[in-house]
Symmetry: C2
Subunit: 538 residues, 2 copies
């Protein structure tokens, strides 16, 4: 027997509609690619999204069509988030940091009809355009005065397309399970795989994201997403911010320390979103410039493990709460976090820091379980390790146009993370499955060693990999970037680790480098480190 309730569908456009109704004059501030700061409101974003919807129709973009963007975090990109999904088409946010063969592959795989492109990525597309089999045209996200010289054709100007369109649009209602957005994960092997988000998934994810269990957004929050809108939807910020009515500060292409710091001070940013590297970048800038924090209260940090050294530094030097997050493109992306609730803030600092390097607890809607190599459940006792699997309404059930379901056993998503979960539901990722070091038949957690080394006063950042070893199969090798002006030796670090980890976990060697190789999304490329240094002990 079914209930007698309206079958109102959960659609992305209603998030922005809600902001227009409830928070019309709340600001959206963008660092534009043209160089200036652009100030807007949710009411204006709503109007322009309506105009954009008409413009998409004029381009004959239809329900189910894929539309690509190669763009930074700006108000125009946000308008595309709403207008493209709102008319029933699919927003394909392309990661411009992919190799050009990957760009070609994913645009063709998605059969993108048009590409909306920021000024800074026009040159990236030019050599590719002849290989893009489905693309009917390119729209440069700027006004007529800033249109570039380019071979891209047919070519359109974003602001011109909008200019003459009406500011109201009759948004269609359709099945909430319809595809809304597409994002490819930049795997380290094989072709990128597409995660196809539905409207339902994104609305439920936005509600969770705005809630106290994840980002805890409210109309007093000034949110700066330093995660790209071209990767995992800037962690859902463009959806959750209008829902919560918070002020949204979009950094454009300004991902360096100076730009970030200036924007934080100018706009009074209270909450930042970003990978650990971003906050290292900000710290390095502040330290060099002898600056301190003004308004930032929290940084919400995911995409890689939170190093204990950074957690401490942010608290003790800047008074900023480091809020860990766990998630991946396939999980919405946000799934777990450890918000600064009163019970957490009441803990003695050392205890609190230990929780801040965990991944926190699952939000309502996300179910987590650990499984061993035989697909059997592992106890959530805080000791036993297993592969983390997750289920929920904003978790992938398969990759787009991909018959390989090996990552989706029995209706779960197998995350590839080795983790423990304690009886209070706190998730701790021990390592990526492929990064675990197997030494003499036992596991060594690279993350745990990294957490300690990251606290050494001379260490800027570090990574631990398994190097092949004739006797022990693998042994840990440490790769370190030293702080500017500091110096440190392998023996210093071994001394620093002494007593903090089991002695047999001590890295056999330390390699000092100028920088760590990273993916476009800021993750350390451990497979590249293994290629370079995997034989140093052999």
């Amino acid at each position: 027997m079914l209930g007698n309730m309206m079958d109102t569908q959960l659609l992305i456009i209603d998030l922005l509609r809600h902001a227009r109704n409830r928070h019309p004059s709340q600001e959206v501030v963008s660092q534009r690619l043209e160089g200036d700061i652009h100030r807007s409101t949710y009411a204006q974003i709503w109007q322009r999204s309506n105009q954009l919807a008409h413009a998409l129709h004029a381009l004959e973009i239809k329900s189910g069509d894929c539309v690509a963007t190669l763009a930074w975090n700006t108000h125009r990109h946000m308008e595309l988030y709403y207008a493209v999904s709102g008319i029933g088409a699919v927003l394909h946010t392309v990661n411009p940091r992919l190799f050009s063969e990957q760009l070609e592959y994913i645009i063709n795989h998605a059969e993108d009809q048009y590409v909306f492109v920021d000024l800074s990525f026009v040159e990236l597309l030019e050599p590719l355009q002849d290989k893009l089999t489905s693309v009917k045209g390119f729209i440069v996200m700027t006004d007529r005065a800033h249109m570039p010289e380019t071979s891209l054709a047919p070519l359109y100007c974003f602001e011109e397309l909008l200019a003459s369109q009406p500011t109201d649009y009759d948004w269609p209602r359709f099945d909430e399970n319809s595809a809304a957005a597409l994002c490819y994960t930049s795997g380290t092997t094989g072709n990128p795989k597409g995660v196809l988000y539905s409207h339902r998934a994104m609305v439920l994810h936005a509600q969770a994201t705005a809630s106290r269990e994840l980002l805890d957004l409210n109309p007093d929050t000034v949110l700066l997403p330093m995660v790209a809108m071209y990767h995992a939807g800037a962690w859902g910020a463009p959806y959750a911010a209008p829902l919560a009515g918070c002020k949204l500060v979009l950094p454009g292409a300004g991902m360096d320390g100076a730009s970030m710091s200036a924007l934080i001070n100018k706009e009074g940013v209270t909450v930042g979103l970003g990978v650990p590297t971003i906050w290292l970048t900000l710290h390095n800038y502040w330290a060099e410039q002898k600056l301190n924090n003004t308004t930032l209260q929290r940084v919400c940090v995911g995409g890689a493990a939170s190093p204990l050294g950074m957690v401490k530094l942010y608290q003790e030097r800047y008074g900023i709460y480091w809020q860990p997050i766990w998630g991946m493109t396939e999980t919405g992306p946000l799934a777990t976090s450890l918000p600064a609730t009163p019970d957490i803030m009441a803990l003695p600092l050392p205890e609190r820091y230990q929780l801040q390097i965990s991944a926190g607890r699952a939000a309502f809607g996300v179910e987590m379980a650990l499984f061993d190599a035989d697909d059997q459940r592992v106890c959530h006792d805080g000791e036993a390790t297993g592969e983390l699997r997750v289920r929920g309404p904003w978790i992938s059930s398969q990759y787009y146009r991909n018959e390989d379901l090996s990552a989706f056993p029995d209706g779960w998503l197998a995350t590839g993370d080795i983790a423990v979960i304690d009886p209070a539901g706190i998730l701790r990722v021990v390592d990526r499955k492929k990064d675990v070091i197997k030494s003499g038949g036992e596991w060594i957690s690279s993350l745990e060693i990294e957490n300690i080394v990251s606290q050494h006063p001379s260490v800027n950042e570090c990574s631990v990999i398994g190097a092949r070893h004739p006797k022990w199969d693998e042994r840990p090798v440490l790769v370190v970037v030293v702080n500017k002006g500091a110096s440190v030796s392998h023996q210093d670090i071994v001394g620093f680790l002494d007593g903090k980890i089991a002695r047999w976990w001590t890295p056999d060697q330390t390699i000092f480098v100028a920088e760590l190789p990273r993916t476009g999304t800021g993750k350390v490329l451990k497979n590249e480190l293994r290629e370079r240094y995997g034989n140093v002990l052999a």
Copy 2:
């Protein structure tokens, strides 16, 4: 094209599961019918709900069956909320204040299979039992020691049914649109009409309810629902509290001022839910006993208009924020509110009070619109009045087993409230459609007059009705309950109203009474007042 997301269904049982995982030791405190205070936790409620699910199977209750409760706000009732809906059956919360013919009608109309009954309602059922055509047995919600002498048969003891059952249960997964709970509205004319809630509606409603836009619940909240679990699901508190992890204080049958005051002080209640009358009762008790508020920070008030006098009194005498809510059984029930956000709290008090007697703004998910008598949209300009219609995923689309769709025009719910909505989305209910006073071809808002009269220092409560008038069709007549020990005349009140309303709105007569007639849910029965006093001017 559909997204590639898991089709995880939104089911009520997952709200309690979440509390068990995330807030296992948070308390649920019940004032039991046996007279004592019962202390429990979400972990224990979870275990007992599992046992109860087994017990329901033992009674051969199946998916789709209706199960009735006649019960107060207790942990046992809460366990029924989860176990009955959790196994796929439908929880029919029966309002014991209905007339006995109505009780018979709704239990038979719902085809309830069993009735779970509190000690205090056993006698109510005895004379009815032979007329209940579908009921197979009665379960008294107590332990063996407290089982009553009764003619009800077959008779079961709640605690005995649970005692031997295992504490884990494999909850089924099913369509989120399945019926979960049933509540009949006690209309003033005709048979009661059933509102059949789905799992999806209740989960989305719980998320909205817990959010900052409605009740703003968090793990530090101590919530006292003084609204009955037998009526509109205690405004969803049994669902939203576990989701948010707040402490839940259930008052049992203790709806009087002394019980309420004792429970608030003992348990440190911070947020109360209830109709205006409940807060008048509490104030009357505190005033008589010369007591003051200790821990209460907010009262969330719906079910009837918020009188300005009460709003002021609660703020100025007790320091309690009066948070208005609008909703009805057919709307989940919560749809709009005015939470104490920083911008509201920054307003000068007189301005703030004017907003606190509005109904606030719609939560995400609820769409509101005003329509005139010709079904045309009325402008949301804060001036134009129209009938309020609402849409959304937790709004009724029809009544249970009822072909009359006149309340559901064009996919909206017509609420029967005459209202204005201002450009900022603030809803003000002017009157119930049937309570509006039509005088000389123009409308008079009874609510507006009541709001002013309620502030007179000698007035305890009041109501304004339209009385038949030979010349003007209708004229307002005021019905007043005077404060203990105070005295006031019609002329005093006319003087008090002078300059605060249009002169032609002034009531022609004041009738002084000892109490106002009310429905079981605390609403003033204006039709009864009209029957009694509708001809005083004729």
